[in-house]
């Protein structure tokens, strides 16, 4: 029986693919940076409300979340062992950055200033979201490790 030769996509060989992947990765990063710049410009220069650019913010957040999760799942980020200390450190880093950003957003760039209790309410959301993000990353690290172990069996 005659079988049809399976032609590679666009006749790309390994070098073509490597170059294409590299360019795609760079363009992806540039797109994310450009979107971040757009969000900052809209928020702080044009003074738009969050609702005016919420779609862009959601796309960027989901994108970054899935990017890091995929990197963890497919073994692009080397993790020998999940240590509580490292997890806590990353969580603290996320919380610190989130808190600083929240404080700057409400008490430096936007007025009127929030009271301590109002700011605390906003910060609780930051802690919760950071925790969910960390859980997401831990879950994908564990699943990725299991997948790798299965492949090595």
């Amino acid at each position: 029986m005659k079988t049809k030769d399976k032609k590679p996509f666009l006749n790309m060989d390994e070098r073509n693919k490597q170059v294409a992947y590299r360019i795609m990765a760079i363009m992806y990063l540039l797109t994310i940076f450009a979107m971040q710049a757009v969000v900052i410009y809209r928020q702080f220069v044009l003074g738009q409300e969050l609702g005016d650019f919420e779609d862009i913010a959601i796309i960027m957040t989901v994108n970054s979340l899935f990017l890091i999760s995929a990197l963890l799942y497919f073994g692009a980020i080397p993790i020998r062992k999940l240590k509580i200390k490292s997890i806590l450190l990353i969580y603290l880093l996320l919380v610190t950055l989130g808190s600083l950003f929240t404080y700057a957003k409400y008490n430096i760039f936007a007025g009127p200033n929030l009271s301590f209790s109002q700011l605390f309410e906003k910060l609780i959301a930051v802690y919760a979201v950071s925790g969910i993000i960390m859980l997401f990353f831990i879950l994908f690290s564990i699943l990725g490790k299991r997948k790798m172990e299965k492949e090595l069996e």
Binding site: P8, N11, D13, E14, R15, N16
Partner: protein, 67 residues
Amino acid sequence: MENIKLKLARVEKGLSQQELADLCEVTRQTIGLVEKGKYNPTLNLCIKIATVLDLTLNDLFWDENKR
């Protein structure tokens, strides 16, 4: 660094870059860049090239001076 061994082996076999590329299922540019030392081929491609040229990987890609 230029891969003279590969170039010599290909010429000795009477193949052009395009012919070798077709036999290895890659583009002529890829073979050209491997010969010029500007692209590091994967092990799979190295094996394909060595098989087509009836040589070993050592014959084509091992540099005694670098040991």
